[in-house]
């Protein structure tokens, strides 16, 4: 079913207009030796109804989980209206708005998104999206290096950052000669004067910790570095936004660039994508920003309208000298984020953040009552936290997965073993928490019985009842 609308008669009429006998003649410029043989492995077509059965069975096999994993992708409640609007053909099946007159709806929605996300960050400008949080951070770093031409091409990352993000940086940055240093302990006694083009501050950190961003920002600025804020946008409705980071008034206040993953703003988990990378900055740096930007202007008759602007930064104009190679971005997800933020409004978004905070707090309290479950840090946390477990994380994850519960992910931390990173957002109820806690207790108690049983089988003369009691 190739969605071809031609009848046989149509095809024949067209062939005769062109002046060839058969379709194959249209491919006569392809050298014979490289003509393709018929496919053998690609399956024959199936009907839409068969495909529906097939994919429904597979989706049902995977099931809908009770999810406590965060680690860069967060489950939030998405009002039905968001994807109902975004799935409209006029938005979903439209092209990049290069033809401004035929794209005013999309252009305005992108402009409104840019306004919302930049104000959420407390900064002046935003672009029209990047691929995801990880590539967004890479682009932010490239941008900072372009601005800081007189500084070493070195970046310092303060605090815990997603190991996957680090992997992406190690793919995208070395080719421009950029080096990355990590400082997990926020050691501010070190003198870094003029050593770094930029310092990356993560809020909240990968392990869920709320960072002392004001002092970190002032410290970085005093050393001549730009500040890149890698932040969770939901958290920014509750926590101090990057544009206001600073304890002092006299310094160049606020982070210079903010970036991250805007998936929490109305984009479903969808096994990792498509997500929504965002990047915002102070106005003075806008010409170094990568990707598309929408501006408001007027038409011939003086009527307000929108168009892509500052395109001379981009690959289709500047080619090898462009600020980035990005072309296709995440436009549809921009529309989703714009609708999501509009539906929730300022108070709604803050309410989501507060409920995330309180839900994580409530779950944490319940979990640390369990024997052997220990908190790694003393907080404060946002909606994610790390605990050490008395059992290998693989075992816990697998046993809970059998019950349709995603327990969290394992993180490697020097000096600790069996560390589980757990997230709870506003979607959870206290019953969900109880289900998780009970399932976990059961797995831990089973493991205890098993280990006792293994010990006791070595002893003769012990009754079954005594074994269980041990």
């Amino acid at each position: 079913m190739p969605f071809v609308p031609h009848s046989k008669a149509d095809i024949n009429a067209m062939l005769s207009t062109i002046g060839v006998d058969q379709i194959e003649d249209l491919f006569d410029e392809i050298p014979l030796v490289i003509k393709a043989r018929p496919f053998e492995k690609i399956p024959e077509n199936i009907s839409e109804s068969e495909l529906t059965r097939l994919m429904t069975a597979r989706a049902n096999e995977d099931g809908v989980d009770l999810n406590f994993i965060g680690a860069g992708a967060y489950e939030h409640y998405i009002p039905w209206a968001v994807w109902d609007i975004v799935s409209r053909g006029e938005i979903m099946t439209s092209y990049t708005p290069y033809q401004a007159e035929a794209s005013q709806g999309n252009l305005q929605m992108i402009y409104e998104y840019q306004s919302m996300i930049s104000s959420l960050m407390g900064l002046d400008c935003s672009n029209a999206s990047l691929y995801d949080g990880a590539s967004g951070l890479a682009e932010a770093i490239l941008m900072a290096v372009r601005i800081q031409l007189d500084k070493p091409k070195k970046i310092l990352i303060l605090g815990d950052v997603s190991p996957n993000y680090l992997e992406v940086l190690h793919v995208l940055l070395p080719h421009q000669g950029i080096e990355i240093d990590l400082d997990l302990n926020l050691n501010l006694d070190k003198n870094i004067k003029n050593l770094y083009a930029a310092v990356v501050i993560v809020q909240p950190s990968f392990l869920g910790l709320i960072q002392p961003v004001d002092v970190l920002t002032d410290w970085a600025h005093a050393a001549g570095a730009l500040v890149i804020a890698l932040v969770n946008p939901i958290a920014m409705s509750l926590l101090k936004p990057p544009g206001e980071w600073s304890a002092a008034e006299n310094l160049d206040k606020g982070a210079d660039i903010a970036c991250g993953e805007a998936q929490p703003l109305g984009v479903p988990l969808a096994f990792g994508g498509p997500y929504l990378g965002f990047i915002c900055c102070k106005k003075k740096y806008v010409r170094q920003m990568p990707g598309r930007i929408v501006g408001r202007t007027i038409d011939l008759e003086g009527k307000e309208g929108f168009c892509l602007t500052l395109q001379a930064r981009e690959q289709h104009i500047r080619r090898a000298k462009a600020t980035s190679n990005i072309c296709t971005n995440q436009g549809l997800l921009v529309a989703a984020a714009m609708v999501y933020m509009s539906l929730l409004g300022e108070t709604g978004l803050k309410q989501v953040a507060k409920q995330c905070y309180l839900n994580a707090l409530a779950l944490r309290e319940k979990l640390i009552q369990i024997d052997g479950v220990k908190l790694i840090h003393t907080g404060p946390w946002f909606h994610e936290f790390a605990v050490s477990m008395p059992l290998p994380i693989d075992k816990i994850r697998e046993e809970l997965a059998r019950e349709g519960i995603q327990a969290g992910i394992e993180v490697n931390m020097p000096g600790f073993s069996n560390v589980l990173l757990i997230c709870s957002t506003e979607v959870h109820t206290s019953l969900d928490h109880d289900r998780y806690v009970n399932a976990l207790k059961y797995v831990l108690s089973q493991a205890k019985i098993e280990s006792c049983f293994n010990k006791n089988t070595e002893l003769d003369g012990v009754t079954g009842a005594e074994k269980i009691l041990c």
Partner: protein
């Protein structure tokens, strides 16, 4: 009107969120106020009812052109019909709500679709290795160029720092090569649209052991098949370089010729073009990267594997230690890959081939008809592939009507403008790609409109120059947009 200008001054009741418990700021135990956003630090988010937001967005959406509403003969972009089934099936709860780091016990269904898509793409392209992780064509290009870099490095061949790229190439090609740390040298095109072989050979002699590779689109962006492709791949390989295939134009050759058989070592596909996933007003795309055996070890992670027990899993650095690494936080645009899988299964092996056949038939039909109307073809002696170029040089000279003017006038007739001024080397060009999903009736309407506009150009050129006349806005002042930058609304 902007959404902000419709906002109520104060918050209005909202019932999207069931409060888990009543939350007051003082109950945020453990959160020092120094961390919190202050009352004065306001966002511009509007206070609106659901109905107001919906009306605003729906009215806005109606100002757009889209495939669902208009024909889009947009060269190099393959704006074909996006099947509803693919979108709906990718949105099934078991897929849509799946966390990317969920346990593999609960992701076998999703992974099986991705695995089967990998197999389909391999046979379609004639390559032997694939990674689905790049999130758009440009990222696929970057992955490919980085793999070529890794290949030369592994051989201790460290001098190779030049990429050859035809002057007709997409802007992403040179931008990508330079992002990966390479120098770019442009290769000229000769008058019939093929790469200038003698110039290519000259460059190879001058820079021989500095050539890392060449990036090429075939059919090229000029809408013609590169007839000397085997000679090109051969002489690049002899010089020690590798060949990169930009898959933007794959819709012209599915089942007809395969990049792997042409001698390419690495390529990307644009699933949002060839496999009909929605363009979504500029994205998301998906740009899987495919390689032959020379580059298999360097593919970006993750890749979906299948073990001896038939279980699917994600290969990481453990299985692929020489991989160039990870390009996205998780597994690329997985939801888009599901849509591409659905599309591939609906078409099957004969449908994919037929899609290309009819795409090429439609383009050749339009080309012939436009030529008869009196439009000038850029390459009249050549077959069209799935797209072709007309040039308005003649009209510019006689009536001062540019390609831009004609493109804008098409909008008035409900047809999206073709790609304009690309490739850069054909002056006043329009690149026309109808795709296979446009009916003969739609094509004939396009011809009829082009004929009308040609008449207007001759009789009333001023009217054409002022177009569009019927859209929500007239031509926009983009100089003002750049000079008086207004890219975010703020309360005055």
């Amino acid at each position: 009107m902007l959404i902000f200008e419709q906002s109520n001054l104060n918050p209005i009741p909202d019932n999207h969120l069931a409060p888990f418990q009543e939350v007051k700021p003082e109950k945020l135990i453990g959160l020092d106020s120094k961390y919190l956003r202050t009352e004065n630090s306001r966002t511009v988010l509007p206070n609106l009812s659901e109905l107001s937001v919906i009306r605003h967005c729906v009215k806005n959406s109606q100002k757009n052109f889209s495939i669902d509403t208009h024909m889009y003969p947009l060269g190099s972009c393959t704006m074909k019909y996006n099947p509803r089934a693919a979108h709906r099936l990718a949105s099934l709860p078991g897929f849509l709500n799946k966390h990317p780091l969920a346990h593999s016990l609960n992701t076998q269904g999703f992974l099986s679709c991705l695995y089967e898509l990998q197999e389909i793409l391999l046979e379609l392209t004639g390559m032997t290795g694939v990674s689905l992780s790049p999130m758009a064509g440009a990222q696929g290009e970057l992955a490919g160029v980085l793999m070529i870099k890794a290949y030369h490095r592994a051989r201790g061949d460290l001098k190779r720092d030049i990429f050859l790229i035809p002057d007709a190439a997409h802007g992403t090609n040179p931008a990508t090569a330079s992002m990966a740390g390479f120098k770019v040298i442009e290769v000229k095109t000769q008058t019939e649209g093929d790469v200038d072989l003698s110039e290519l050979k000259k460059l190879l002699e001058i820079y021989s052991d500095q050539i890392a590779g060449m990036m090429l689109t075939n059919p090229s962006t000029l809408g013609v098949f590169e007839r000397n492709i085997l000679e090109i791949t051969d002489c690049i390989h002899k010089a020690g370089g590798l060949l990169y295939y930009d898959g933007a134009n794959l819709n012209a050759i599915m089942g007809k010729s395969r990049p792997g058989d042409m001698g390419f070592d690495v390529m990307h596909m644009n699933l949002h073009k060839t496999f009909a996933t929605p363009h979504g007003s500029g994205g998301p795309g998906s740009g899987p990267v495919l390689v032959n055996n020379k580059l298999k070890a360097y593919l970006p992670i993750p890749i979906v594997g299948k073990n001896n027990f038939g279980k699917y899993f994600l290969k990481t650095k453990e299985e692929l230690p020489e991989s160039i690494g990870r390009l996205s936080a998780f597994h690329g645009n997985a939801g888009i890959l599901l849509r591409a899988f659905a599309y591939a299964r609906l078409l099957g092996r004969s449908g994919l081939k037929q899609a290309s056949e009819v795409a090429v038939l439609n383009a050749n039909y339009l080309m012939k008809k436009l030529e008869k109307l009196g439009f000038t073809l850029a390459f009249p002696e050549r077959r069209a592939t799935h797209e072709f170029i007309i040039t308005l040089q003649k009209e510019l000279k006689a009536y001062k009507i540019s390609a831009l003017d004609l493109a804008k006038r098409l909008l008035d007739y409900g047809i999206h403008a073709p790609t304009m001024y690309f490739p850069l080397l054909v002056p006043e060009c329009l690149l026309v790609e109808p795709t296979e999903t446009e009916s003969l009736k739609a094509l004939d309407y396009f011809i009829e409109v082009m004929s009308k506009i040609l008449e207007e150009i001759k009789t009333n050129p001023e009217w054409v120059k002022q177009a569009p006349h019927t859209l929500p806005v007239r031509r926009l002042d983009d100089v003002k947009a750049a000079r008086e930058l207004d890219i975010a609304w703020r309360e005055k």
